[in-house]
């Protein structure tokens, strides 16, 4: 009995040791866009955490918002002979050549949180939230909230040409199609940053009769909304009441604003993209199971009714 138990224990140990050793052999290169928003920083933190928990050797490259840096990083990962590459692409186009190089080197590439305009045999899978769906959830919330009253919406777009900017705009417009009372009157890019969000909102307020003409703000990310909220306050209006504020991402600072009544709703883009990515890679390496080409994450809606302060405390530690 004791011998049996000891043997079993030893087997378990050995198995776990071997599987740990096998996992440790996996080296993954991660080309991150940068840390242009708090969300991006949280994604980086969570990816590093996930890699550490699974004993994966993660090589991290920060591209500082430049595609050329990402292509360089990918080429250097290929030259180093990593086992897999995680790529969060800064723009949608121009990836065919470097992805082809990775394919020829038989290195699977997993796209994180954004997709690319390239043949889908050039990458293993894309793990993203459905960006169109996110915009749709935000638009639906706004339509339900104003409930038939006429409402002029201003939109702060993300970086021109990036897939979240294109898709979040599309989804929001789709949700508004069946509601004639909702109209997008102005739409400009705020480059996903607080500074530009604030500057562009200032010009919207000036252009629309000091903001009296605006009933709601839809921002493609929370950071632009945070900047815009300051602009609304400085113009002498109450964000959240005079102008409804709905945005996407669910970073901690927007929950603080929601707790203060200055923002109304946000759609969560989960920063844990690496978990599903590593799962898919493990399965692929073990027995060659190809994952579906697209793995969708959940887009959860948070409003002022969801105890924003509690969510804020939970999210604060994530490195946002």
């Amino acid at each position: 009995m004791t011998i049996k138990a000891a043997l079993a224990g030893a087997t378990v140990l050995a198995v776990s040791f071997f599987s740990a050793a096998a996992a440790a052999e996996m080296t993954v290169g991660f080309s991150q866009i940068g840390s242009e928003s708090g969300w991006r920083a949280a994604e980086t933190t969570l990816t590093k955490q996930q890699a550490e928990e699974r004993g994966i050797d993660l090589k991290f490259a920060d591209a500082q918002q430049k595609q050329e840096n990402q292509i360089k990083a990918l080429r250097s990962f290929i030259a180093q002979g990593v086992d897999a590459i995680l790529l969060a692409p800064v723009v949608a186009t121009g990836w065919d050549e470097v992805l082809q190089e990775a394919k020829e080197a038989e290195i699977p590439v997993v796209l994180l949180d954004r997709t690319v305009d390239a043949a889908d045999d050039l990458y293993l899978t894309a793990i993203t939230s459905d960006l169109v769906h996110e915009g749709n959830v935000a638009g639906q919330w706004l339509a339900d909230t104003v409930a038939g009253k006429p409402c002029n919406v201003v939109e702060l777009q993300g970086t021109t040409g990036s897939s979240p900017a294109i898709d979040r705009k599309k989804g929001f417009e789709q949700a508004l199609e069946s509601h004639d009372n909702l109209k997008i009157i102005r739409s400009q890019t705020g480059d996903f940053t607080r500074t530009k969000g604030k500057e562009v909102m200032e010009s919207f307020l000036k252009a629309e009769d000091g903001g009296k003409n605006i009933c709601a703000l839809y921002a493609h990310n929370d950071d632009m909304a945070v900047g815009a909220i300051q602009a609304i306050k400085e113009a002498g209006l109450k964000p959240g009441t005079d102008i409804l504020v709905v945005s996407i991402d669910a970073v901690p600072d927007i929950f603080e604003a929601m707790a203060a009544g200055e923002a109304n709703a946000t759609v969560e883009l989960t920063p844990n993209m690496a978990g599903p990515a590593f799962d898919a890679l493990d399965a692929y390496r073990k027995d060659g199971t190809a994952p579906p080409k697209w793995i969708q994450t959940e887009s959860k809606l948070y409003t002022q009714a969801d105890d924003p302060m509690k969510v804020y405390e939970e999210k604060k530690g994530l490195g946002y």
């Binding site: 040409g161 480059d191 562009v200 200032e202």
Partner: protein, 351 residues
């Protein structure tokens, strides 16, 4: 004195005219453009927005003008802004007083300038390369300080610098106007400006005639660092957080453009801080005008580029020759006055 004044007015004429034309064009597209009102005890309107949003580039342009006058260039100012914003946020969140925070932050900016200045003046590295070092490394340093996240703060004193108001004007406007006037007086009411121009035209000759060019060069880069520090504080205070990745991103290019639109030659020598400040306002007026016009964002950069190319073509020496020739053929009497305007305008022929 009146000759001196008229020369000054003539020097600024192309820039003022360009700014006026742009403002007029915006007001055609957006009739409420010139409307100003008092709200919460401060002026409120699109014109104020231009002055306010243009503050970082205006501040950078002050330092950049002096550096360019020494035949140098400072590519690091955007990154120095990010460093200083991060330093300010880190200082204030770790519980230091506003005075300490400001001193440390300005000190950090001056230190960055000192580094650039030593590379250029002592090690004799070409300015574009020397300052490129900090341009690349600076953002990394700023990220180290903020640990990659946006470092937010709630100190009312620091926030006041970004969004408070004084004399009915937003604080950033007061700061860049005051800073511009102080620096302009400093270089024009003393021999400093003349020495800087001499250094920019011929460093060797200036050294031989007894100008301590090394010290002067280092001081120019330190001034640029100081300007970047003030701009960095304003940018961070404006959004109540230090955004190491985006604060000051590409602003070094806007600052250089402001100096060029201001008519200061990149070959060094004659410079005008007032013209550079108007140049900075021209750039911001274009930005704000595009936002107000309601064009789709895909057009932003193209419109901006087209207007700037137009301004630069009109200011180019070739175009001036054509204008001068046209006015001469109209009336010989006007010719002499036009000639003098040309010389004052470009600065280069005067050497």
């Amino acid at each position: 004195m009146s000759r001196f004044l008229s020369l000054h007015v003539l020097r600024l004429l192309p820039q003022v005219a360009a700014l006026a034309v742009i403002l007029l064009m915006i007001s055609f597209a957006f009739p409420d453009f010139f409307r100003l009102e008092i709200q919460n005890g401060r002026l409120y309107g699109s014109l104020v927005d231009i002055l306010n949003r243009g503050a970082p580039v205006a501040l950078l342009a002050i330092g950049m003008t002096v550096v360019i006058a020494t035949k140098g260039i400072d590519l690091s100012v955007g990154a120095v802004m990010a460093i200083c914003g991060a330093v300010a946020a880190a200082c204030i969140t770790s519980g230091h007083s506003l005075a300490v925070t400001l001193l440390v932050t300005l000190g950090a900016g001056v230190l960055c300038g000192l580094w650039n200045g030593v590379l250029v003046a002592v090690l004799d590295i070409q300015p574009i390369i020397a300052t490129l070092v900090l341009m690349v490394a600076g953002r990394g340093i700023a990220q180290l300080i903020t640990e990659g996240a946006i470092l937010t703060f709630n100190d009312p004193g620091l926030i006041f610098i970004g969004s408070g108001s004084l004399f009915g004007l937003p604080m950033p406007v007061v700061i860049w106007l005051a800073f511009g006037i102080v620096v302009a007086l400093l270089v024009r009411r003393t021999a400093l400006g003349m020495l800087i121009e001499a250094l920019g035209i011929n460093r060797r000759a200036s050294t031989l005639s007894g100008v301590s060019t090394g010290v002067l060069l280092i001081a120019a880069y330190m001034l640029s660092g100081l300007c970047a520090a003030v701009a960095g504080i304003i940018a961070a205070a404006d959004i109540r957080g230090a955004d190491a990745n985006n604060a000051g991103l590409w602003l070094e290019l806007d600052a250089i453009l402001a100096v060029v639109i201001g008519g200061t030659s990149l070959l060094g020598g004659r410079f005008s801080i007032a013209a550079s400040l108007i140049g900075a306002m021209i750039i911001q007026a274009i930005n704000t005008g595009i936002l107000l016009s309601g064009f789709p964002p895909e057009f932003n950069l193209i419109i901006k580029a087209a207007i700037i190319v137009l301004i630069l073509v009109i200011q180019s020496p070739r175009a001036r020759t054509v204008f001068a020739w046209l006015s001469r053929s109209r009336g010989a009497a006007d010719g002499a006055g036009q000639d003098r305007a040309d010389r004052a305008g470009t600065g280069q022929e005067a050497k």
